[in-house]
């Protein structure tokens, strides 16, 4: 998708690091927070990066958090009549867990987006985008379609993944979770750690510091639960082509790496193929906020931009796997202009955005 004139008008984030971007960046600069053990069945528990505890029901917690992050993004400044995209993998399954069996799933998959829209008193069209880990980036690409075509001046993307035992148990059953901690590209990495997050990205046609230069979405069904090297390569090439850029124009890559022994290695190798001998600096955020699944594209987008703007930088805090032949940057690259944000996920989804700092 070639994108002209789509800019970031505002951002908001609530995650394990904090209730807003400023507190999240501050916590990140202090070295982060610890995940919380979540029991999924008797004797089985997994660490999860949880939002700070709140009172009220699951739905009340969702509505309150959505209102908070949307307000941080300046929602309402552009009206509420444009398209709203709600990106999530688990949707309202956390609410369903508390229902008796006969009352479960009585509604439909749009109910979750309805809750979000109601929290914001949204008047425009409301879409659900659910493509597992790539949900939020696909929502951004859809919002860009709207704005670039002139069908909307502004769109709001909400990426939301709230606590539920179902997803934790499901990922645990697939043997994808780490029992101790997420170490993307790390030595001895043994799986991912899930995380809760609600993120808001307000996108518009009005020029601003950050421009979405292009993006891509590549689904490859050959490996539904993992990363496919050819799809990573296709995703990067397509995003670069649609942005009118070459590999050497990229100054930073926000990697997918979640701590999987196999998938991290496939991603590292594929990136080296795309960028040959000049692999740009890499940055990873999942050791700090966990893998926030359907929200991750928006959550990591917002957190990374906030880090750059605040002059803070995430540190890995663990030893990297020397066999991968890659490094994570320890500070923001100088002369940072074009950033490639990659998300790879469950179901063979591979999505990428190119973000340009127009002030650079």
């Amino acid at each position: 998708m070639s994108i002209e004139g789509v800019y970031v008008a505002g951002m908001g984030l609530a995650c394990a690091l904090g209730d807003d971007l400023a507190s999240s960046v501050a916590a990140l600069a202090r070295g982060g927070v610890s995940p919380t053990p979540v029991a999924v069945s008797q004797g089985v528990q997994w660490p999860v990066f949880m939002l700070p505890p709140q009172h009220g029901s699951w739905a009340e917690r969702l509505e309150r958090t959505v209102r908070s992050v949307a307000a941080e993004a300046g929602e309402g400044a552009g009206g509420r009549s444009g398209p709203l995209f709600v990106a999530s993998s688990s949707l309202d399954i956390g609410d369903m867990e508390h229902e008796v069996q006969d009352l479960r799933l009585g509604g439909d998959l749009q109910d979750f987006a309805g809750l979000v829209a109601r929290a914001l008193d949204w008047q425009g069209p409301v879409f659900t985008i659910s493509t597992a880990c790539t949900s939020a980036l696909n929502a951004v690409l859809a919002a860009c379609d709207f704005i670039r075509s002139g069908e909307a001046d502004e769109a709001l993307v909400i990426g939301a993944e709230l606590g539920n035992r179902f997803t934790v148990a499901g990922f645990g059953a697939m043997q994808l979770l780490s029992p101790d901690g997420a170490r993307p590209f790390g030595a001895g990495r043994n799986g991912l750690v899930l995380g809760e997050a609600v993120a808001a990205l307000r996108l518009g046609s009005r020029a601003a510091r950050w421009r979405i230069a292009g993006g891509s979405n590549v689904v490859d069904g050959r490996n539904p639960s993992g990363t496919e090297a050819s799809a990573v390569i296709a995703m990067c090439h397509e995003a670069l082509a649609q942005s009118g850029l070459n590999p050497h124009d990229i100054d930073l890559i926000k990697v997918q790496a979640a701590g999987s022994p196999v998938n991290d290695a496939i991603e590292a190798e594929a990136l080296k193929q795309v960028f040959s001998d000049s692999l740009p600096p890499l940055v990873s955020l999942k050791s700090l906020l966990g893998h926030t699944l359907g929200a991750s594209g928006a959550a990591e987008f917002a957190l990374l931009v906030a880090c750059i703007e605040a002059g803070a930088w995430p540190s890995a805090g663990y030893a990297l796997d020397g066999e991968l032949g890659i490094a994570l940057s320890t500070q923001a690259p100088a002369g940072l202009r074009n950033i490639l944000l990659n998300v790879v996920g469950f179901g063979g989804g591979h999505a990428s955005l190119v973000l340009e700092d127009c002030s650079a």
């Binding site: 998708m1 999924v40 069945s41 008797q42 398209p83 993998s89 399954i93 369903m96 867990e97 069996q101 479960r104 799933l105 439909d108 998959l109 749009q110 309805g114 069209p125 409301v126 879409f127 659900t128 985008i129 659910s130 493509t131 597992a132 880990c133 790539t134 696909n138 859809a142 860009c144 379609d145 709207f146 670039r148 075509s149 069908e151 035992r165 179902f166 148990a169 499901g170 990922f171 645990g172 059953a173 697939m174 043997q175 891509s216 979405n217 590549v218 689904v219 490859d220 069904g221 050959r222 539904p224 639960s225 050819s230 799809a231 296709a234 996920g345 469950f346 179901g347 063979g348 989804g349």
Partner: protein
Amino acid sequence: MNAGFAIGWRTVAHFSADPLPADWRDRLAQRLGRRLRRVGLWTELAMYGARCCLDAAGEGALPAGARLRVSSMRGAWGATHAGLAQLDAGALMPFTFMQGQPALMLAEVGRCLEWQGDASFALCRDPGQLVRLSRLGVGRAGMLLGVVEEERNGEKPRSEWWRLVPA
């Protein structure tokens, strides 16, 4: 939803699995040359309709630049319901969990269309808005658009697909 693409679009093929043949799973297995295992009813329904639609369009594979868009109000309802029951019992099974994910459906549909590309699962209460979204940004290779619902509460199963290209 009907596709409602009339202006500026050409419907190359439209397929609706109505009525759904009793032996539809056998037909799908025969067409793909393999018996499906552990992908779940909803995904199988999607694969059957998508493959039939593309065959009706005379295309062995979905062109690389085409988009795949799928919508469903209930999704993999049966697998999700079973998964929650398994969770209650303390043993959520990996394949049950996977079968509830729309992303797995997209992967399997793409695979049965011998295709790698831009696939997404989206929904909206207003079908007109969903059509509006689906057609934005589509290139010359067009798209394959599907609506897939499992049978539930007396409603018939649905797997309805359109192969559309810009006119």
